[in-house]
C-alpha cells in the first residue's frame, strides 16, 4: 500500500479509498495496484476531507456505511471542496440510497462484495473523466491568458472575424483602410498563436461571449 505525500504527487492520478474496514481498503488497494493505479487509504472520512488538496487528480471510492458519519454526508461535503468524481460502495443497496447518491453527485454506485472487473472499470473511467476535464480546463485557461494580450482594437477586430465579417466590412465599420485591418488581423493571429481561421474560431469563439 502506498502512502505518498499528497503534494508531490498532486499531478499524477491517485485513487482515494475511504472505508472504515482495513481489510477492505487493503484488498481494493491491491486490486488497483494490479492495473497500475496508485491509491491512498483513509479509515476516517473526516481526516480525508481535511487532508484533500483542491488540485488532486483521480477519484474517490467511498463506503456508504461508516461509523460516526454517513457516506452520503461525506459525499455532499466533498462536492463543496473538490471536483473529484466519486464511486460509492454499499453493503445493502436500495433504490432510495442509490437515488440519493446519484443526486449527491456520485458517478457510480456499486454493491459489496464487488466484482473486480466492474470495480476497476468504474474507477478507471472516473479517473479518465477527471483527467479529461482537468485538461479542458488547462486549455481554456491558456487561451484566456493569450486573449488578454490583445489591444482594445485588436479585440474588436477578433470579434468581427469570429462573426464571419470580411476585412472590407470591418474596415467600413471602423472607418479604417483595408490595409490597416489586414495588419490588425495578422497581429491577432500572431498573439493568439493560431495557424488558421478555423482554429481561431474553435478555441476563442466560446471565450468571447
Amino acid at each position: 500500500m502506498t502512502t505518498p505525500d499528497a503534494h508531490t504527487h498532486a499531478l499524477s492520478p491517485q485513487v482515494y479509498l475511504v472505508d472504515d474496514d482495513d481489510a477492505v481498503r487493503d484488498g481494493l488497494a491491491l486490486l488497483l495496484r494490479s492495473v497500475g493505479l496508485r491509491s491512498t487509504g483513509f479509515g476516517d472520512p473526516l481526516a480525508f476531507l481535511a487532508q484533500l488538496s483542491p488540485s488532486a487528480i483521480g477519484c474517490v471510492v467511498l463506503d456508504i456505511r461508516m461509523p460516526g458519519i454517513s457516506g452520503l454526508d461525506v459525499l455532499s461535503r466533498l462536492a463543496e471542496q473538490s471536483d473529484l468524481p466519486v464511486v460509492m460502495l454499499t453493503g445493502h443497496a436500495n433504490v432510495d440510497l442509490c437515488r440519493r447518491a446519484f443526486k449527491g453527485g456520485a458517478m457510480e454506485f456499486l454493491q459489496k462484495p464487488v466484482d473486480d472487473d466492474v470495480f476497476l472499470d468504474a474507477v478507471q473511467a472516473a479517473v479518465r473523466t477527471h483527467i479529461a476535464s482537468r485538461e479542458r480546463l488547462a486549455v481554456t485557461q491558456a487561451a484566456a491568458e493569450r486573449l488578454a494580450r490583445l489591444s482594445g482594437r485588436e479585440h474588436e477586430v477578433l470579434e468581427r472575424i469570429v462573426q464571419g465579417m470580411s476585412n472590407k466590412e470591418i474596415a467600413r465599420e471602423f472607418d479604417l483602410s483595408p490595409r490597416t485591418v489586414e495588419t490588425y488581423r495578422a497581429n491577432v493571429f500572431a498573439k493568439l498563436e493560431a495557424d488558421s481561421l478555423a482554429q481561431l474560431i474553435r478555441q476563442y469563439a466560446t471565450l468571447l461571449d
Binding site: V24, L30, P113, V114, D116
Partner: protein, 478 residues
Amino acid sequence: MNPLSRTRALFCWLILFCLGAAWIARQEYVDQYDRFFQSTSIAQRMLSQKTVQHEAVLATLAALSHPPAPERLYPSLQPALPQLLGLGYLADGAWAGSLAAPPGLSDALERARQLGRPVVLPEDPARYWLISPSSWSLLLDARQLVPAADFPPGLANLSLTVDQTSLPLLDKQPDDAPGLTMTLQKPLGAASQPFQMRSTRTLTPDAWPWTAWLAWAVASALLMAGAAAWQRSRADARRQQEQARLAAMARLSTLGEMAAGIAHELNQPLTAILAHTRAAGRLLDDDEERPAVRHALLASSEQAKRAADIISRMRALVQPSSPARREALDPDALVASLRFLREPDLARQGIRITWHNASPGARPLGDRVALEQILHNLVQNAADALADTNGPRHIQIEGRADGEEYLFTVSDTGPGIAADALPRLFAPFYTTRPQGMGLGLALCDTLAGSMDGRVAARNLAPAGACFTVSLPRSGTPA
C-alpha cells in the same frame, strides 16, 4: 396535563357555567314574574271591589224614597268607607250635601243620565266626585281605597291614574333602581271608575340568585375536573397499552434486525476476500509481485476466519447455550398476548384472527419467549400468505392436547405451500419471498427443538396452509 388542554378545560367550564347560570336566572325571573303578576292581580281585584262598592252605595241611596239628610248620613257611612270624604244630592233641584256642591255638577249629571250609570268628576289627582244619574254623589279619596299595609307583599310600586297624573299608592322602590324592571298595567273593574292601575317592580341585584349561581359554579367546576381527569386517565391507559405493544413488538423484531446486521457484517470480509484473491490472480504472473500475492492470500484467509467467527457468534445468539426453560404455560394467556400485539395490524390488512382452545386446562411445557417467537413467526407467515388473497382472510389458531403432547396449529385461508417448496421449507436461507432472509421457519424449528418439540407443515383442502407446533404436555411423564 398540558397547558393547552388546561385552557380548554377552563374554557369548557366557563361555557358550562354560563349556560347553567343563564338557565338559573331565567327560572328565577319566571318565578318572580309569577309572584309579581299574582300580587298585581290581587291589588287590582281589591281596588276594583272598592269601586264596585261605590256603585252599590249610590244605587242603594237612589232607591231610598225618603233619604236622610247627607250631613247625618255621612258619619254613619264613613267608618265603613274610610275613603268617603263627603256626599250629597239634588233635593228638588237644590243641592243638599255634607259638603258644597262640586263645580260642573249639572254637566256631569247630564252625562250620567245619558250613560245611565255614575260618572267621575275629578277634584284633584287624588280626589273625585262620583255622580250617579239619581244625582246622589260621593266625594272619594283614591289614596284611601285600600290601606297600604293591606296590599300583598309582592308589590313594589303601585299607582292609579284618576285624572291624568298618576297617583302613587305604594312606593317601596326608587324609580331609578338598577336592575330588571317588570311592569303591568290594568284598568279597574268598575265601568264607572276605569282608572288605570300601573304596577312596577325592579329586580335589583340583591334579589338575584347569587347562592344558586355560586353553587352551580362549584358544581360545574367539580364536574369539569372529573371529566378532565377521566379523559386523562383513559388517554394514559391507551398510551401505556400502546407502549406495551411497541415494546413487545420490538423484542420480537430484533431477530429481523439481527439478520440484517449479520448480512452487513458478512459483506465486509467477503468484499475483502474477493478483492484480495482477484488482485492476487492478476499479479500472479509477475515475479516481482510475489510478496504482494502472498500478502493477499494471507489476508483472504484472515478474512475467511473473520466471516466464520461472525457466523458462530450468530449461532451462539440463536441457540442459547443454556437449555431452554421448561415451565407449564397457559395457552389462553399466550395467544391473548399474541393477539394483543398483532390484531390491530392484521385488522388493517382485513385479516381476522381467531383462537380456539379445544382442551381447556391442558398446559404445554416450554419457554414462554421461545414459544411466543414461534407463534409470532407463524402468524406473520400466514399474514404474508394472505396478502394477495382475494377470498376470506382468516388465521385460525387452535390448541389441543394430543396424548402426551400439546399441539398448536396455525392455519390460514391463503394459497397454501407449493409442492416443491414443502420438503425444503425448514432449511435455513430457503425462502419464497423476494425480501425474505429464509431464516424464520428455520429458527422456529430450532427453537421448537430446544424445547423437545417440533414444527410441521401441511396444506389444507381446498386451500390454505397449516403449521403444527408440538410440545411436551405438563402432567405427563417426560
